[in-house]
């Protein structure tokens, strides 16, 4: 029933596409004909930005880790404020479509362009991975299909939406999908608030517990941790012993559950936690920096730095402003994006809190991305729950398709030149952009899509933000310095990201572990320092056209040295 409904809505949301599909000319593949109004373009940017990670993942992170995760959406919205203040209008006036084009235009260097394109590709891969993850979780929750079917759905969506029409065909879809996503969180939120019986003890001073009899099925083999003994009924393999539904008493401490095992917990029993998620009593969960992580303040600053400066380096965001008519409308667009994302920041706290009450078993399975998808049925069972689940699933589908398409188009636009250019180069680039995350998806071990997204932000902040900020505002930037800065920040951030994505059970402890988890606090200052230092050491390599480039970027259209346009 739910599956049918969700599928119907998904198809309906996709049906908009053919109407907007443009011709497959190379120019049409890259740009949406510069006629998009600020409001429409802001909807498209926000639509792209509210990815599977933001839509599904944030609620899950709040459910698992509490108040400390609220900094993430704040940093994301602040990132657009900084983007607006430092980059938007000058970048639009430069006439560059991608960051790669900007690097080549501003610095006149093919090498800098190649370094930037490599970064864009890496960022795109890191950004696509969580979209695959979100798609897998969504499909497995609403229809019980294996997670890889979700990955194939993303690939299919990208191939169908991007290959024929490029940006032209996705702008409208993304704008519509933003409002679809907003509806898909607002309507459930209003219903939940109305029916929520205000059993508001999510932050009582006790660990999370099952509010009703709950059967939990382990999807993967995992270690779980129990704080108090509990009487359960088990079907499957627990601690190496086979059980067939008999009741037994689980002692406090660690247990191993094999995939497919079902455990029935009575109401009031404490929720076991997967070994990946630290157990938090309610009051610690609700208090910032009390979550038992190491160096929580440094980790928070690192996340803020990565999201605030990383936003400008996300390829799919910067290319969007090219579709504005001029620098002024690009700036207005960025202002509207801040407004739209601010509205979205309301929801993680609400859904995370509700998830703590109604879907606590996710702490045991670790699949916290499923929070928003499971909530409707727990809070309002019956047909209303079905309808809301279908709505949320549609929003989730919109989230991972629009973000994936946006990222793929932007990445392809950046690297297509290196693959022969033109429509063929673009299509080859699309395949490169999608294939790597698809192959990496089975190896990625972090089950939380929003955590994976922070990796992309950290790489973007550590590599492309110095180029953009200094390229726009500092006359002394040299090509060698830009390349050096990209390498100095991008390489360690990428290495930390790979360790994070592929390493199980996760990075080590202490400062090193904290840095691998959130490297931006070191890599971003490093990248800026290297860029500035090398620039000052190579003063004779300042591009001759710098002064004209500055004038073109900062003067309103029609007053600059290159005339109107």
């Amino acid at each position: 029933m739910i599956t049918m409904l969700a599928m119907a809505l998904l198809i309906a949301s996709l049906a908009i596409v053919p109407a907007r599909g443009g011709p497959a000319q190379a120019s049409g593949l890259y740009t949406a004909a510069r006629e998009v109004s600020p409001w429409w373009n802001a909807s498209a940017i926000s639509g792209e930005y509210v990815s599977a990670a933001a839509f599904l993942g944030m609620a899950g992170l709040v459910l698992a880790y509490g108040a400390d995760m609220l900094w993430l959406p704040i940093g994301a919205a602040a990132g657009h404020v900084v983007l607006l203040a430092l980059v938007t209008a000058p970048l639009r006036r430069s006439g560059a479509y991608t960051v790669s084009d900007f690097a080549e235009w501003r610095l006149g260097s093919r090498r800098a362009r190649r370094a930037v394109s490599t970064c864009v590709l890496v960022i795109g891969w890191f950004y696509l991975l969580p979209q695959f993850q979100g798609a897998g979780v969504t499909l497995s929750v609403i229809s019980g299909l294996p997670v890889w079917t979700g990955w194939l759905v993303v690939v299919a969506a990208v191939v169908v939406l991007v290959l024929p029409g490029g940006v032209r065909s996705i702008t409208g879809v993304q704008a519509v999908q933003f409002w679809l996503k907003l509806m898909a969180v607002t309507i459930p939120a209003l219903v939940f608030i109305a029916v929520w019986r205000l059993q508001n003890d999510a932050d009582a001073a006790r660990p999370p517990y099952f509010h009703r009899d709950t059967t939990v099925t382990a999807d993967t083999s995992a270690g779980i941790h129990l704080t108090a003994p509990v009487a359960v009924a088990v079907t499957g393999v627990l601690d190496g012993r086979h059980h067939h539904g008999e009741r037994l008493r689980l002692t406090a401490g660690r247990h191993r559950v094999r995939a497919g095992t079902r455990i029935r917990f009575p109401a009031g029993a404490p929720v076991p936690h997967t070994s990946r998620i630290a157990l938090l009593r309610g009051d610690r969960w609700a208090t910032p920096f009390a979550g038992g992580r190491e160096h929580p303040l440094a980790a928070t600053y690192s996340v803020l730095l990565a999201t605030i400066l990383g936003t400008m380096g996300l390829p799919q965001i910067t290319v969007r402003f090219y579709t504005n008519a001029c620098g002024r409308t690009a700036r207005r667009t960025a202002g509207l994006v801040v407004l739209m994302l601010a509205v979205f920041s309301l929801f993680p706290a609400l859904f995370g809190t509700l998830g703590r009450l109604y879907t606590p078993e996710l702490l045991m399975t670790g699949e916290t991305d499923a929070t928003l998808l499971l909530l409707p049925h727990r809070i309002v069972p019956g047909v209303t729950g079905d309808l809301l689940t279908a709505l949320v699933a549609t929003g989730a589908f919109a989230a991972f398709t629009s973000t994936s398409c946006g990222v793929v188009v932007a990445v392809s636009g950046s690297i297509a030149q290196g693959l022969g250019g033109g429509a063929r180069g673009f299509r080859a680039a699309v395949l490169v952009a999608v294939a790597v995350p698809l192959l990496a998806a089975p190896w990625a071990c972090s089950p939380q899509s929003a955590t994976l997204v922070t990796v992309a932000f950290a790489v973007a902040a550590s590599s492309l933000s110095p180029l953009l900020v200094l390229g726009v505002w500092w006359r002394r930037l040299t090509p060698a310095a830009a390349t050096a800065g990209i390498l100095a920040g991008g390489v360690p951030a990428t290495a930390a990201g790979l360790a994070r994505v592929l390493g199980d059970p996760g990075p080590g402890s202490g400062w090193l572990g904290a840095l691998v988890e959130q490297p931006a606090i070191v890599t971003v200052p490093l990248a800026f320092a290297v860029t500035v230092t090398v620039s000052l050491l190579t003063p004779d390599r300042v591009p001759e056209r710098t002064e004209r480039a500055m004038a073109r970027m900062h003067l309103p259209e029609g007053l600059g040295p290159d005339g109107p346009g």
Binding site: I74, E544, E547, R548
Partner: protein, 116 residues
């Protein structure tokens, strides 16, 4: 960079016809460009400073004063209310303010460069 000759002519240098300016990189009206850039940079710096103050200050505040986390307004703990409602509103206000100031600076520049 240092050997470049700075043109310190009157602001009307920017009012030259675009094609002449394009042929003559030294005559792009460097002085008015620099003055507009300075104004825009000052606005951008202030906007970023506000973001840095809020984003840098709030974590410190909550870390130093755990008491704040126990205050409840309408049943919601203060940090939750601040982080999911107040701060986003601040961002929207800062963004609006920046758009207004940047557009005003450009209007002033255009009026100066092209006195009608």
């Amino acid at each position: 960079m240092s050997e470049r000759v700075t043109v310190t002519g009157p602001p009307s240098a920017a009012a030259r016809p675009p094609h002449r300016a394009a042929q003559d990189p030294e005559g792009t009206g460097a002085a008015p460009v620099r003055s507009l850039m300075r104004v825009q940079a000052a606005h951008a710096a202030l906007t970023c400073a506000i973001v840095a103050l809020v984003g840098g200050g709030l974590p410190l505040l909550f870390a130093w004063e755990p008491v704040l986390s126990r205050i409840r307004i309408l049943g919601v703990r203060l940090p939750w209310l601040v982080l999911s409602v107040v701060v986003p509103v601040v961002w929207v206000a800062v963004a609006r303010r920046h758009v207004r100031l940047a557009e005003r600076a450009e209007r002033d520049f255009a009026a100066m460069a092209r006195p009608e």
